[in-house]
């Protein structure tokens, strides 16, 4: 959180000033985010929230909330975690801001006892569904971290409960609120990149992913290192790829028709069950592919989502757009360049019959000027607005739902070694 925080108001002002108000109008969730009209509650009514799961992400979300909770009239009423050291971390963060929320080890007791409007769930993946459903059925609005759920059935169960209870369910895909993505998506949807043939994405790290255990006590292994065990997580797929398949679906404004993939434990042979390297290909009905890979034993290429169009490319993570035929340099600069080449380049005796087609060396243009926005804060601010309004645009949940379903299908495709399509019962 080292960026200077620019909030929802700054963001909307900036969109209007840069002419990107079109993007605002075109994104249904942003439109709703921008207005506070038709709220079930007053625009400034207090929103009473609790956080369930105050581990690393839960505390991060809490830090973001605390930056605007006073301005947005949000009261953090309670915190819940079944692992006391993590609960104490969150309590400490609140104390620093002179807040004194109630602490709980069992969320069921908390939602029964406390008067809440909404909860934020940042527990391990395998318990997202049960906690979400319990909260929705108690009449609470829910913000649940990505990936939505551990199985196809759980994902659908969460969605169905949201429909049945008519309570908000927002999944933590923060890129949906990131100005770089919003502006870039607008350009893609306006056809500025031509025909999208492929989307490539990757997330490469060179780290273990294993967390150390308190006093090396092995009884904590599965609780602390839940990401490494299939019972609780699909590893790289749910932890990393779920963000990027969401970006691909958003860019193409559709969901895939099939997926195939492979994966293995190539490097971290330490008893973990989830793959440490994966590669998948998702196909869409118009022939576009989403080509994905992720690994944890090399970080040279980091992470990226590359949208490859016939007239341009977007690389979202670095805020760049590249044209296939960049605007020519000014004449005088071309002249100097030609003179330089004429003097210094060696003349080939015969024309080259083969030229290596290495990457185009062109720096591209920034998609947006300022990247001083924190998408995680913006999505939480949006959630607060939606809670006041009593509803959120369905599109946001559908993005999370489809990302989760296709992430799960990716896992099954890898396990079965088959090409899979979406079972009819999961189409919404």
């Amino acid at each position: 959180m080292d960026k200077k925080y620019q909030n929802r108001r700054d963001f909307i002002k900036h969109l209007a000033m840069t002419g990107s108000a079109v993007a605002l109008a075109a994104s249904p969730w942003l439109g709703a985010f921008g207005s506070s009209a038709q709220s079930v509650r007053g625009a400034n009514d207090m929103v009473r929230m609790a956080i369930i799961g105050t581990g690393s992400r839960g505390c991060e979300l809490l830090r973001h909330l605390l930056t605007f909770s006073v301005a947005q009239n949000i009261r953090i009423v309670a915190l819940c975690d079944n692992y006391n050291p993590h609960l104490l971390d969150a309590v400490k963060l609140c104390k620093e801001k002179e807040l004194n929320p109630q602490s709980y080890a069992d969320y069921r007791v908390m939602i029964e006892k406390e008067q809440l409007d909404a909860v934020i769930i940042a527990t391990p993946l395998y318990c997202h569904a049960q906690i979400t459903v319990d909260c929705l059925q108690t009449g609470l609005h829910v913000f649940c971290e990505k990936s939505m759920a551990r199985t196809l059935e759980q994902t659908k169960w969460m969605y169905d409960t949201h429909i049945a209870t008519n309570k908000i369910l927002q999944i933590g895909h923060q890129r949906l609120f990131n100005p770089v993505y919003l502006e870039g998506m607008q350009r893609i949807h306006d056809g500025k990149l031509g025909t999208i043939g492929q989307i490539r994405a990757y997330w490469h790290r060179n780290n273990n992913w294993r967390r150390s255990l308190p006093n090396n006590d092995l009884s904590y292994e599965r609780q602390i290192n839940w990401r490494l065990y299939k019972e609780y997580s699909a590893g790289l797929l749910t932890e990393l790829m779920s963000h990027q398949i969401q970006v691909a679906n958003w860019a193409l404004q559709k969901t895939p028709v099939s997926v195939m993939g492979t994966g293995s434990i190539r490097y971290w042979n330490d008893g973990r069950e989830v793959n440490d390297n994966i590669a998948l290909i998702y196909s869409y009905d118009d022939g576009t592919q989403f080509v994905y890979d992720s690994m944890t034993s090399n970080k040279k290429y980091g992470l990226e989502e590359q949208i490859l169009g016939s007239t341009g490319t977007i690389e979202f993570e670095v805020n760049k757009q590249y044209l296939e035929t960049p605007a020519a340099a000014p004449g005088i600069q071309q002249l100097i360049n030609d003179v330089e080449h004429g003097i210094f380049d060696k003349l080939p005796i015969g024309g080259a019959s083969w030229v290596p087609e290495t990457a185009v060396n062109y720096k591209g243009e920034n998609i947006v000027d300022s990247t001083n926005y924190m998408d995680t804060s913006l999505q939480l601010e949006a959630f607060t607005q939606f809670v006041r309004k009593g509803s959120a645009p369905e599109k946001i949940l559908k993005e999370g739902y489809n990302a989760s379903i296709w992430t799960m299908l990716g896992e099954i495709a890898i396990e079965k070694g088959e090409k899979l399509s979406m079972p009819k019962e999961f189409i919404i």
Binding site: A328, P330, G331, I332, Q333, Q334, L335
Partner: protein, 76 residues
Amino acid sequence: MKPIIITSKSIKKEFYIWLVLFVCATLLNVYSIVKYHTNWSELYSQLGYVLAISIVFYVVIGVVRVLMQSVKLFKK
């Protein structure tokens, strides 16, 4: 040591030499706009480049002039 006297006449002369070179650089800009079919707005947007080229020309011409002066002195 003999003091070096820079007269206003010599400053004017140098200024005119540079002005001619600046005009030459501008003509070069016009030529490249035509040759590479680029925008006429480059006549002012590329003024910085034109200025830099005129200074390079001035330095090159300066070196040539110093050499010529030295040859003249040597012949005397």
